[in-house]
Symmetry: C2
């Protein structure tokens, strides 16, 4: 699903599809999910999601911010400090994220269910 957060208003159809377009991107859901636990700094996110590169993390965070799902707060300090928090809109995604987590736990437990 390409071109996240670059929706052409007239094209998209159903709400499900439009919702997906905000959530896609290889790392967004995990970022959102981690942020459910509260505000996190850039490198805290990196540690929580080891396999993401900082380039992609930056990119995904920017898109999430552009979509109004997270809030980016910069503190003008000597050691830079940037915090990311879910916006009200982002927090409203919680049911979706939790539904996905529960489904994953239930249907992908360990490594079963790989046989069809």
């Amino acid at each position: 699903m390409p071109r996240a957060s670059q929706r052409k208003p007239g094209v998209q159809g159903c709400a499900v599809e439009r919702t997906m377009s905000l959530i896609d991107g290889k790392w967004k859901i995990i970022v959102l999910y981690k942020l459910l636990g509260g505000t996190l700094r850039f490198n805290e996110l990196r540690r929580l999601i080891p396999s993401v590169t900082q380039r992609m993390l930056t990119h995904q965070l920017r898109e999430l911010e552009a979509d109004g799902l997270i809030v980016r707060t910069v503190y003008a300090q000597v050691p830079p400090r940037v915090e990311y928090t879910l916006s009200a809109r982002g927090r409203s995604l919680e049911p979706v994220l939790l539904a996905m987590k529960e489904w994953g736990d239930a249907n992908l437990s360990s490594s079963e269910a790989y046989a069809a």
Copy 2:
């Protein structure tokens, strides 16, 4: 999110991520969503999702089948007839899909919310 339904068991982290890997692909959620309404034939799906090409529809259907989310039934007839139905596992995704639809309806109504 590349390589759908080609998960490397050791890599993926949380359940949310693994769930996403089954749902990604530009058309899967819409297909699943449409199938919530009941069994559909190939061209019925095409008509319901006009912007998908048959190549991609075929491809996505194959992946969904490989992931055990849908069931493909072929009737050996003169005019070929292939039906797609949600599997039990696929149907169990309903809460997730509905959560996404509701969120979309609530937060993306018409075209507002585009300003941050």
